[in-house]
Symmetry: C2
């Protein structure tokens, strides 16, 4: 039973990531993490009639890749847990229809990947399913149209804005595989009153810091116990803000805090402060971070999925932007 006020769950049994599937678009192919994708598209429409249908294809491809790498069939996947940025989670629901598994839709905005991973690992540890697939997806043109302006308008953005990632990442979670899900910390909503929807990183940073410090407190650890603390996705503005807050709270080794939205692109790619979107943490965590654990570069990584929980309507009605962050500790062993 967890201690009162604690937010972390330490897994009893070895549950880990068996395979991943990671798909991206053009900007992602041009960035420094291209080698960590299984498939990269050179056509933003991916042969589909709408951006929304292209987004579904990205997720379906990531699912298919993770299934194929495990040498399984669709029918072997009992459950999919995931979400996206589209209203009513249509991307994920339609892809779950194609997959044919049981399905639980979830939403933590750009932090959806980690919410899905912790839920999948918990339901597998409980024995509710023998394995579960989880993931998240976004498409920059579908997101721009929904949240800001259709890309074709050519609207300007401030330099602290972020570019929604075009990509999908999924993981197959199963007992006995690695990297192992060691512990999970569920976040609280943190709202410091910021209202600029272009500056999501600053709105999410306090939530990231709250969850990272709760995780370290609950497990009686320090940043030094992790080779990488990977937020996703604060981008450069939010990451600097988060590191500053961590230092003010006495955490020294903030150099090991990195951000999915910063890692995914080079600064000269015209991506403003960096990447964002449900697909950003999905591709960097299930591509780059899992690969580095597999290759032995890292032994323990804290995945911190940060999300901005506003909507275009809540912004128009004058609300501030609530942030959230869920964390999962992955370790490079299977038991």
């Amino acid at each position: 039973m967890p201690r009162a006020g604690h937010q972390s769950y330490v897994f009893d049994t070895p549950v880990g990531i068996r395979t991943t599937g990671v798909v991206g678009g053009i900007k992602e192919a041009e960035g420094p993490l291209a080698e960590h994708f299984d498939r990269l598209h050179s056509d933003m429409s991916m042969g589909q009639k709408t951006w929304e249908k292209a987004e579904r294809l990205l997720l379906k491809e990531a699912m298919d890749l993770a299934i194929r790498k495990a040498e399984l069939q669709k029918e072997d996947i009992p459950l999919y847990i995931g979400g996206d940025l589209m209203n009513q989670l249509t991307t994920t629901s339609f892809s779950a229809r194609t997959l044919g598994s049981m399905y639980l839709g979830i939403y933590s905005a750009c932090g959806t990947t980690v919410q899905g991973l912790l839920l999948a690992a918990m339901l597998v540890e409980l024995g509710a399913v023998e394995r579960a697939m989880t993931g998240a997806v976004s498409h920059t043109y579908a997101a721009e149209k929904l949240y800001r302006f259709p890309n074709e308008y050519g609207a300007q953005k401030p330099p602290y804005a972020q570019r929604t990632v075009t990509g999908a990442g999924v993981a197959l979670v199963e007992p006995g595989f690695w990297p192992r899900v060691e512990a999970a910390t569920i976040g609280r909503v943190v709202d410091t009153g910021l209202k600029d929807p272009f500056d999501m990183g600053s709105a999410e940073a306090p939530a990231a810091v709250a969850t990272i410090t709760a995780h370290l407190r609950d497990l009686d650890r320090s940043l030094e116990d992790y080779d990488l603390v990977l937020t996703g996705d604060l981008a450069s503005v939010g990451l600097a803000f988060a590191k500053q807050m961590l230092r003010e709270q006495g955490h020294r080794e903030t150099d090991r805090v990195e951000d999915c939205g910063v890692l995914l692109y080079r600064a000269d790619q015209g991506v403003f402060a960096g990447g964002s979107g449900a697909g950003c943490s999905a591709v960097v965590m299930y591509g780059y971070a899992v690969n580095q654990l597999r290759r032995g570069r890292y032994r323990r990584v804290l995945l911190c999925g940060t999300g901005a929980l506003h909507s275009p309507l809540s912004v128009k009605q004058g609300d501030s932007i609530p942030g959230i962050c869920h964390a999962v500790s992955l370790v490079a062993d299977s038991a």
Copy 2:
């Protein structure tokens, strides 16, 4: 470990509903289930500036009622799991901000209540949290504006349409309380190609039948083992369709299949085929159904949360309406 192809989880430890909080609006106060609400509003704006903020108030009130009935404080609620119909789940996220607990946003459209209940019970059984609050909410004017037309336009609806419920229902899930969560069945997406967004009941009915029959198969039971099989919300058109399909599959006792959207209103209340919305199953399941179990009228009830997983955009792009249904069996004992 679950058997391959099975969708149901039978709980090992006694986890149940400690308290509920159920709040409604004007139509709900005029309907036959009025006595099952803790609070009923006579002002659709509830003193708020927008329908969306009124929806948040409904959920906050339901949370407060469930906490107060348990003689607990906000700080005693470690986790809230829930969702709503608003884009990006803003109602639930903002109410979770006020509550201050850990928060997991979920989405199964009108089936959100049951997805939340099964996840809350699973995480409590796992020991991830000592208790969890879960629920769902909708407001008819906020939903009409988002999904169809602002209510002030006076747009016409076909007689098979449904009226979104104005209401919120939450449950506090904790070991040792009752009604007890006995088993849960996670649904698959079922899409029979229907495309009329006014006829959500017909789109959801095949999913309801798929999950009910999976549940009965997995637990080796028949409809006769339940005093009430409560779908939410097929309304009258979808309910008749679901009963017909169940009879065609050899199930006889379809009289005990009832629907939240049908029970909540009288036919002469101008609600078309009945109620719908994330709040519909929330108020009828946590109000009426839990009360009937507590009062000894029913011994075992199967809650079947049905959802239509389309969006206004997916309909405009020519997609059909995928349905889903999750089920939870509640029994009137604590062990």
